[in-house]
């Protein structure tokens, strides 16, 4: 894993010795500039299409500005947008909605993903094909899944309300109360992403060396003890990674609520991303939206750092082999 910090010395390459080019080209092509040269196109692309717009919106976050009226010059507000946002109970409400969905969905994903991983942790006939069926939801389009569940939840013709009606005899409307609408979103999101957790846990489960179990068998360790002392240490770090990764991703959830509930009923399922979208592209309060974007970005950067830190710890404690 440790990257080599130096290229082999020049004496290493006795073969085709090109006459060293002079001038600017020679300067650019020098061996010590190989790294920067290879990376330059990528950095340039990211600066133009990513970093520069980000800087732009950082600037905009201090202004009152409307993207629909480009002719009207931005009006300086200082930290006004940030102060407004952080003291706005609407914004905190959207953060709360997001938190509810994140906590609910990630918890379900961890449990379901873990159980699915246990199911697939043995080799059995047709395993590869059945695994595909379970993994497929993860690769689908978020917006397509939103459309799916919109059909399933449809009050009179969707199969879930009809199924419930079979048992209760009462018509069942799913998206009419805040609680049920949140549960509906959590179900759709967790259905889609539990396979992700399964995949990570499965990687841990199959990496446990066999001799540990054989030794445990000789020692007549109980099943629970085997799990706690052998299996769990191998999947602990992967579970943590799954938790962090899914938290980051679910924190940004946009497509599913946007398509499925459009934030309703009321604003009960309007997540921070959906709210951000509305502020930016329905009300066109571009300055305010940029400021809110930066508040969200700050949260994502903190979570991403934690994620990378967890990966680093995992590499150091469990060796470079994986």
């Amino acid at each position: 894993m440790t990257p080599r910090t130096e290229t082999p010395p020049a004496t290493f390459t006795p073969g085709r010795t090109r006459p060293s080019a002079r001038g600017f080209l020679g300067w650019v092509m020098a061996p010590q500039r190989r790294g920067p040269l290879l990376i330059a196109p990528a950095i340039a692309t990211l600066v133009v299409v990513n970093i520069f717009p980000l800087m732009w919106s950082y600037g905009l976050s201090f202004f009152h500005y409307n993207a629909k009226r480009i002719a009207v010059p931005p009006h300086w507000r200082g930290f006004g947008n940030y102060v407004d946002l952080l003291s706005d109970s609407d914004v905190w409400g959207r953060f709360q909605n997001t938190a509810v969905i994140v906590i609910g969905s990630v918890a379900v994903q961890l449990v379901v993903g873990f159980l699915l991983a246990l199911l697939f942790s043995r080799e059995f006939p047709l395993r590869r094909y059945l695994l595909m069926l379970v993994l497929a939801p993860m690769m689908l389009s978020l917006s397509a899944v939103g459309v799916f569940f919109k059909l399933f939840y449809e009050p009179t013709l969707g199969f879930i309300p009809r199924l419930v009606q079979e048992f209760t005899g009462q018509p069942f409307v799913i998206l009419d109360t805040p609680v049920k609408a949140n549960v509906a979103i959590i179900c759709a999101d967790a259905w889609m992403w539990s396979p992700f957790v399964m995949l990570l846990v499965l990687a841990g489960l199959v990496s446990v060396p066999k001799y540990l179990y054989e030794a445990a068998e000789i020692d007549r360790a109980s099943a629970w003890r085997r799990f706690r002392t052998i299996t769990f240490p191998y999947i602990r770090s992967l579970l943590l990674l799954a938790l962090l990764f899914r938290t980051i991703e679910t924190f940004k959830i946009f497509d599913v609520p946007y398509v499925l509930t459009e934030g309703g009923p009321g604003t009960s399922t309007e997540t921070i991303s959906v709210y951000l979208f509305r502020v930016a592209f329905n009300y066109f309060q571009t300055g305010r939206a940029s400021a809110l974007g930066y508040i969200v970005l700050f949260g994502v950067i903190v979570l991403t750092s934690l994620y990378l830190y967890a990966i680093q710890v995992r590499r150091e404690t469990e060796g470079p082999s994986r």
Binding site: R4, G35, L38, I39, L46, A67, R122, M132, Y294
Partner: protein, 290 residues
Amino acid sequence: MSSREVRSIGVAGWGRTLGAAVISLIYFFPVLFIILAAFKTRADVLAWPIKFVFTPTLSNFVSVFFRVAVEGGQAEATGFGLYFFNSLFIGGSSVLLALIIGTSAAYGFSRFPLRGNDTYLFMILTTRMMPPIIAIIPIFVLFNIFGLSGTYVGIIALYTAFNLPFSIWMVKSFFDDLDRDIEDAARMDGSSEWRVFRKVCLPQIYAGLAATFVFAIILTWNEFVFALLLTGTQTRTVPVQIVRAIGGAMGADWGLLSALETLFIIPVVLVTFALQNQLLRGVTFGTIRR
């Protein structure tokens, strides 16, 4: 790594297969329901209890592309031919660009680390982890100023940048996995750095490059927010039009919607199967290998 004997993965029999089959089918049911509905007639789609045995029809697939607007009138193209073409064309070209630029950068990060290498990599990862909505506000403004909104150039440039962090991390993880001794041997034998890259390193990761390509294509094929805001009537991609369709006249026709969804997701499901061994690396950005 590959020797199964040291792994703890035990062997279970057909009993486990049966259990897993039941659970997998329940898990897969939402997708199955859509695929079945795509082949049903209008009456069968709405029948209760759900029909699993029925006479299949392809009429839904036909009406995805051609529809009779007025009773007895001429069939008109719905535009989905164009939208599917757009999805493929925009996805294919942006991923190809991202892969070329990304492979170069990945090789640089892997073999010629700079001072502050990890900082660059962290920044690159952050640009992908951040909510797309943040980047899209200024991009929306800039696109409007430069007249790029609704053009192929604009959306392809955007998706190239969108796929770049993923490509770099993914390809870097493949380069990192290679055995350096082979390269050093090639250098000993007098290969230039270009030959080492082109003839030694690159051929070893062809499969990895293919996996990265397919993964990035899926990500782009599925992408919704950028496409929603920055494509016009001529460059619109399939996910945007699907979401628009539920609001419109097509929304009432469940068989049609299902056929549309089926056409949209079947390629992804099939490709997922081909990618199974690289899936872990792909969904975690190359940060975890198998």
